[in-house]
């Protein structure tokens, strides 16, 4: 139906999925070619997924149009189409979940691990409104489906080591299934010391430690009905953020859900899935490990979300319908306590998120209509009702300093419409799309109170009076196949009305010591964001292939200033060698000079860079058991570099030797 990138994640655990994954590894370049056949549903460049035990962040980063903003070595913030969290809809298996950090130190991708998930679905722009409204796109981290496959007990063990940062990972999974019941439990533990940037320069405060355990169980009530329950507990401690003035002593999430699946005997109902869920996040920012700070402070935050969805799919003649009725209720609270250097003075306290309650309910409908064997049109709409309420009087009074007439509640209606045309022929495929979407303000944009952003060194004040941000978008994608040569072009353009951004208010005095001033969230009349990628691959022989990709991005506001965090010219080239049980790849990736940087929004010019990576993979079979080995070197030349997406230009990892091993016992 659309530009949909499915990223097959750590299927490292079950024997069945191992089989699939090794297939993927082996058929790397053919998967590339498969893209034409699986219309609009292409696998993420698998050739770039060299590590089985990569974090989700690493996996996401391998996608062309996803860039991870790094504030450290942990909890990277995904961006799609050059847009960050507040313009995206990030969900875990359709469940809304919101980070509890006012400074975006805990994107929700940091609260799950590869062991919890089956795949990540990435949709761009208004194609991604299945679970909620967005401007830039959606990322859905999908958990494995029910496995009533009568396979008995299975287990697997994973071990990983990386030389840079002395990074250790281990994982364990147990799975038991019958025809009526299954239980799957897994755990993963990661610990890294400070990593070294290129030229052996240590990056202080870049350590982290985390573990994640999850259990999923299902029971088949009847042939038509089954129930699944899932709980994920994720706890990270001692996380350093070298790009920020504070670290995190605790980031903890409990994510639970109960799902009902209905399989109809009627042929036209494809599936009907309903879920109730709850998740809670505690995030404790502190600076107790920093030797030298102007003032000591604690900044804890909490986010709780309750929600449901009910998704129904059915077919009627040439129509494939999909419905999603969903709703959630979120509570976001964050506070800041500062301890004056003069101990006679009392501590200073404020609510940075004044206990904002968000209630949303909406309906999504999509119809995929088949015009002919080669052509189809898919249309989707989402309508939603959105309400924000400030629950704490103290918080309301705080914001009344800036907005004297503020009331504690605000309603919004949100609309999203998208339509795509697909043409699929033997040697080429084409898709063209148009969309319109709206989004509400994020909690920080609407209600944040003196949130310090060390990127531009300003304090930010939320603005509850902001209008909905509106996006008009157009996108195209085309792939052509000439024998062993494949070339693809994809491009999208967003014209965003009432583009929300911070604007300096010179009359205000910053709260943060040393800050340049205060910005109030306001809206530009419009902003334009454009991107274009050219991908190509060439099959030299059955085992040898070359891939290359170049990309260009552009973003400008109506004030004629470049937007921040717009990716400069980027390139990737790769040479692959694959046999059934072995693969090797040599990669060159880099960015051009960031000439369109936005000094207006606090960016500076990031110089060009290029790095070389080399990776290998082996599979060994021992009776029914299996051993998968992945090893390689990243940044072979030990380049010292940072990219435009590295917060305050913190340097990326230098040379890194790694090995991942997985044992699967059947």
């Amino acid at each position: 139906m659309k530009k949909l990138i499915v990223l097959i994640l750590g299927i490292i655990y079950s024997g069945v999925s191992y089989g699939q994954q090794s297939d993927v590894i082996i058929k790397k370049d053919t998967t590339q070619l498969d893209e034409i056949i699986v219309l609009g549903n292409r696998n993420l460049s698998n050739y770039r997924q060299e590590k089985t035990l990569s974090s989700i962040d690493n996996y996401l980063e391998k996608s062309n149009r996803v860039t991870m903003i790094k504030r450290g070595n942990y909890a990277w913030e995904p961006t799609l189409n050059n847009m960050t969290s507040e313009r995206l809809n990030v969900t875990i298996d359709g469940m809304q979940i919101f980070g509890a950090c006012t400074d975006k130190m805990d994107p929700i991708t940091s609260y799950v691990d590869v062991s919890n998930l089956k795949q990540v679905t990435i949709n761009f722009g208004q194609e991604g409104t299945e679970n909620g409204h967005n401007i830039g796109g959606a990322i859905d981290l999908q958990m494995p489906e029910s496995k009533f496959n009568h396979s008995g007990l299975k287990s697997s063990v994973d071990l990983g080591y990386e030389s840079n940062g002395n990074y250790k990972t281990c994982g364990l999974e147990l799975e038991y299934s019958t025809n009526k019941f299954y239980l799957n439990t897994d755990g993963i533990y990661r610990k890294s010391d400070n990593y070294n940037a290129g030229e052996n320069k240590e990056v202080p405060f870049s350590q982290f430690e985390k573990f994640n355990i999850s259990t999923q169980a299902g029971y088949k009530l009847s042939n038509n009905h089954s129930l699944d329950a899932n709980i994920i507990y994720d706890k990270a401690t001692d996380i350093g953020y070298p790009a920020l003035p504070m670290d995190v002593s605790l980031a903890e999430a409990i994510i639970t859900s109960v799902t009902h699946n209905y399989k109809s005997n009627l042929s036209y109902i494809t599936s009907w899935e309903s879920k109730l869920y709850f998740n809670t996040i505690t995030h404790i920012m502190d600076d107790s490990k920093r030797p030298d700070v102007p003032i000591r402070m604690d900044m804890p935050g909490w986010s709780d979300t309750y929600g449901f969805y009910s998704k129904l799919k059915f077919t009627a003649n040439k129509h494939q319908f999909q419905f999603n009725l969903n709703g959630f209720y979120n509570r976001s609270l964050a506070e800041m306590t500062m301890y004056p250097n003069d101990s006679n003075q009392p501590s200073m306290f404020m609510y940075t998120w004044p206990d904002v309650r968000t209630l949303y309910s909406g309906l999504y409908i999509r119809d995929n209509y088949t015009l002919s064997d080669a052509e189809s049109i898919s249309t989707s709409v989402r309508f939603g009702f959105h309400n924000n309420t400030i629950a704490k009087d103290e918080g309301l009074e705080s914001l009344k300093i800036f907005y004297p007439d503020l009331t504690n509640s605000k309603h919004r209606f949100l609309t999203s419409v998208a339509s795509n045309y697909h043409l699929e022929k033997e040697n080429y495929h084409l898709s063209l799309g148009l969309g319109y979407g709206e989004r509400a303000t994020s909690v920080s944009e609407g209600y944040g109170f003196f949130l310090y952003n060390n990127f531009d060194n300003f304090d930010y004040i939320g603005n509850p009076t902001l209008k909905n941000e509106k996006s008009f978008e157009a996108n195209m994608k085309a792939n052509y196949l000439f024998g062993n040569f494949k070339i693809g072009l994809e491009s999208s353009y967003f014209h965003i009305r009432d583009y929300i951004v911070g604007e300096i208010d010179a009359s205000l005095s910053p709260m943060t010591i040393g800050a340049n001033g205060v910005k109030i969230y306001t809206a530009l009349d419009y902003a334009s964001i454009f991107d274009i990628y050219l991908n190509s691959s060439y099959l030299l022989s059955k085992t040898l292939s070359i891939n290359a990709s170049v990309g260009y991005n552009y973003g400008k506001g109506s004030n004629n200033e470049p937007l921040p965090l717009i990716k400069p010219f980027s390139y990737l080239a790769e040479l692959n060698y694959n046999t059934t049980n072995f693969n090797a790849a040599l990669q060159l990736e880099g960015n051009g000079n960031q000439s369109q940087y936005s000094s207006f929004y606090g960016e500076n010019e990031t110089p060009s860079y290029g790095i070389l990576n080399l990776n290998f993979g082996n599979i060994f079979y021992l009776k029914t058991n299996k051993l998968v080995l992945k090893y390689g070197v990243e940044n072979i030349l030990d380049r010292y570099y940072s990219t435009y997406a590295d917060w305050n230009n913190i340097a990326r990892q230098g040379r890194n030797f790694y090995i991942n091993t997985s044992f699967v016992f059947n």
Binding site: Q345, P346, M348, M350, E397, K400, I401, F402, F449, M511
Partner: protein, 281 residues
């Protein structure tokens, strides 16, 4: 918080057990809600009960409530007219301080109230005495006793000389319970006409610049300057406090002819005005 509610009730329970039961218990409790006795001033005929919210006098603004008990009948006098004179004895001289008239408290039967602004005290709380002159049914009585005035931790009152060579006293009256948000700031300004007379100053204004010295002296937005209100003869302004903690309210006193009498603007080099009040919450 709860304790301060319970304490007066406890006190009254004890009190009513020890004196006449002529008065309705409910009335007494209602009358003394949120008040704690500071002390009794006793003469041959009457006992004057002195109350404040805290049960003590502090430097700065004190809202004071009084009750007059007839020593013989133990009943409360509801028709007295009262005036008062707090005096501080210094080594070489004595002086008073700004104070209001004493009026019958509205909606209360037995209480009279007013305020006293003590601009200073000795470190041990000594030095002050309070004289109360009151008239009941045409007969004038007087009672005097020493009182204890404790030093407030913060500078909530300031006594200073203006560029016009007059002496002034300024004191913060509201907010008594500051909030994060916009507070209604009320300040009293008095000129020291004589050692014993401190009339309210009318129609001046005060520039307001609240700062947090603990946080690189940042200010807060949308404050207004203090202007005179003839309704209550005090100065009012919007004071926005963006967080809890220690705040310095930097002030600049300007007379009706726009002459600066005291105080300076806060700048990079001058972190505090010479005229300021402090606040903490």
């Amino acid at each position: 918080m709860k304790f301060s509610h319970i304490l007066p009730i406890l006190f009254i329970t004890l009190f009513s057990a020890s004196c006449s039961t002529d008065n309705d218990d409910d009335l007494i409790i209602n009358e003394l809600e949120n008040l704690i006795k500071v002390q009794n001033l006793v003469n041959d005929t009457h006992t004057i009960e002195v109350y404040t919210k805290s049960g003590s006098f502090y430097t700065g603004y004190n809202a004071v409530s009084l009750r007059i008990v007839d020593n013989t009948s133990k009943s409360y006098i509801e028709n007295a007219s009262i005036n008062w004179m707090p005096v501080m004895q210094m080594p070489t001289m004595q002086h008073s301080c700004p104070k209001s008239d004493v009026l019958k408290t509205t909606n209360k039967k037995t209480l009279y109230d007013g305020y006293i602004i003590y601009q200073m005290t000795n470190t041990d709380g000594s030095g002050w005495s309070l004289t109360i002159n009151y008239t009941i049914d045409g007969i004038t009585y007087v009672v005097t006793d020493t009182i204890t005035v404790l030093q407030s931790k913060l500078q909530n009152v300031s006594s200073f000389q203006g560029s016009d060579n007059k002496r002034y006293v300024i004191a913060i009256i509201e907010p008594t319970k500051p909030i994060i948000g916009i507070n209604n700031l009320v300040v009293g300004l008095y000129s020291m006409e004589t050692m014993m007379s401190f009339p309210e100053v009318e129609n001046y204004s005060l520039a307001l610049d609240p700062r947090m010295p603990g946080m690189s002296n940042h200010s807060s937005p949308n404050n207004t300057d203090l202007t005179y209100s003839s309704t209550d003869s005090m100065y009012h302004a919007d004071l926005s406090l963006t967080m809890t903690g220690y705040w310095v309210l930097n002030l600049k006193l300007v007379d009706a002819e726009y002459t600066v009498l005291k105080g300076e603007d806060v700048t990079e080099t001058n972190t505090q005005s010479s005229l300021y009040l402090e606040l903490e919450f």
